[in-house]
Symmetry: C2
Subunit: 349 residues, 2 copies
């Protein structure tokens, strides 16, 4: 029992975890060198890097995110703010972003704003307390306070879904207005004249699509405010069915009937298609129907739904990649990335 080693310290709070110090001891260097070698920061002698990496692997060393965050004032989290998970659009966006960020060592922290600027601001405040390394937010419209919070935090931020030319703003998206205009031109080209625009939720991007529709209708000399059906309720199949019933039932004596409806989102259009089926309204013979986002199931509808395919997985991936660059301190080749859209013409129009 000749205890040559010193007695364990009285106030031990040892966690059993392999630490940087353990790796440093095995590699016979200082902890700082281990830290630098493992993070690839600053030049370290290649031979030492090798030795450190071997030691780390041998011990199964895993950095402690909390210690790292406390010391560096920056966590390994990326905060993502999206309006809802009920719209498949955002689910795809999120999955793609996560798929890019996770291999790079970042955890995703999701905040659901329910399309509410107040909730968005509150969520952002909470997330900023975790000192995220990066930020992914939906769209460009938000409260002045939220915008100021983002700027003041100094956290790299990329905006999703829309594009912006404002200095210092990074964005990956598409022109919602052009997409709305393109669909309207398609319906006009098919000979439709009384094209209604039907929208729910009325978020900023929906209103941009509305602007595109309005521009083309005015250009064609066919605009009529009575063709705008704007409904602040959340978007859903049931809501789309209700709106279709209303629009189809609305037959003013002094105007020709609606011959096409452009819905701002596919779930509404799918509901409309089902309502038309129930009511015996022939699509597209009597009324053409078009949607937006080309969501799951749209190609299965009867008739299949004409829509605008938006590159949501690509947006999620590209935005995450731009953010990774910003977090490394790089300047992206272009601050704004327009990923475009595709018109998908199917049987409903």
């Amino acid at each position: 029992m000749s205890a040559s080693s010193p007695a364990p310290p009285l106030r031990s709070r040892a966690t059993g975890r392999v630490t940087l110090a353990d790796v440093a001891r095995l590699a016979e260097v200082s902890p700082i060198t281990v830290s630098r070698a493992l993070r690839g920061e600053r030049a370290v002698d290649p031979a030492l890097i090798e030795r450190v990496k071997d030691a780390a692997a041998k011990l199964g060393y895993v950095p402690d995110p909390a210690a790292r965050a406390l010391a560096s004032q920056r966590s390994s989290h990326v905060a993502v703010l999206i309006p809802a998970l009920s719209n498949a659009l955002f689910v795809d966006l999120l999955e793609a972003a996560q798929r890019t960020l996770r291999p790079a060592g970042y955890q995703t922290l999701i905040g659901i704003t329910h399309y509410d600027p107040i909730e968005e601001e509150q969520l952002l405040r909470e997330q900023l307390q975790h000192r995220p390394a990066g930020l992914l937010v939906t769209g460009l419209d938000r409260s002045e306070a939220t915008r100021a919070l983002i700027t003041a935090s100094g956290v790299p931020c990329v905006h999703l879904m829309e594009t912006s030319d404002a200095p210092g703003v990074y964005s990956v998206g598409l022109s919602q207005e052009e997409a709305g205009a393109a669909m309207t031109r398609h319906l006009l080209a098919r000979g439709r004249r009384r094209i209604a625009f039907a929208a729910a939720q009325l978020d900023p991007r929906t209103l941009q699509r509305l602007a595109g529709w309005r521009r083309e209708m005015v250009n064609a000399g066919l605009h009529d405010p009575a063709l705008e059906w704007l409904n602040p309720a959340p978007s859903s199949l049931a809501e789309g069915a209700r709106m279709f019933e209303q629009i189809a039932a609305h037959r003013p004596a002094d105007k020709p009937p609606v011959d096409a409806i452009f819905f701002c989102n596919d779930d509404l259009a799918q509901g409309a298609l089902l309502a038309a089926l129930r009511l015996g309204v022939a699509v597209p013979a009597q009324i053409a129907i078009a949607g937006f986002n080309d969501l799951t199931g749209s190609d299965q509808m009867v008739p299949p739904l004409t829509s605008v395919r938006t590159p949501r997985s690509e947006m999620g991936r590209a935005a995450a990649q731009m953010l990774l660059g910003l977090m490394r301190g790089e300047t992206p080749p272009a601050p704004s990335l327009d990923l475009g859209f595709d018109l998908v013409v199917r049987g409903s129009s």
Copy 2:
């Protein structure tokens, strides 16, 4: 310029953050007392609590999660493992859980397993490095290694979707087998005899529903292995349409035709309903169709889809509440909570 205050320390890394020490100074107590007063841990003189809270409010103090995690070896994260976000079922579950956990100060860390036990194990390893305060996992089936990781971590864990009687296992769910049996009994009661069970993805819960169907079919003396259509592909409307076409086209000479199809999930059943419409197959006259989970849109289908409503928001909320209790060190009244299900009979059956 009579600088009576000492020069600022040379090696300042001040963050400008309001710290526990600032609050302690203003309240004229020690930092430990502030820590205890704010967390409600251990008895502290009520008068002091008051003083501390006032001081904290006055300074706008917000605890630093990283420092807290490092010192306590437990973060404010709850890790959630779900198979996919493409099934609306899990979106609802997640939203409900988050809605309960966030007000209690917990951030949700989402891991998507893609129904893969290997991915689940890897995700769990990553998440455990963040020392989550709690764990929410889907179902009871997982690799032995994953199970061992959970146990060894000592992190409180609640299982979603199914219920278990195993000691030390906490769960909130429903009997998938009973739900499958109930739907089958309903179809039998309607006079259906050749009831097919059509499934995709083939995850554990789907197989439990299959077992319920099989039990009732055997009991009724009507079971036939040829009625089982098991497809490992991911579940979707398009896949449901394909399966319906196959099943409808399969007309062996020696057996009566299928007169009902019980799909393991509503998206498949919705796709089948649309395929029936395209093919001119009368539902329910010729074939009854039933689904599972009562997802969005099922009530809008033509005809409306018969389904099983599963209490997913309730499950998410109840599981989160049980977890909050466990994280506080409490023992839940019952380790297993069965929230049941409702048969929703609509026009398709």
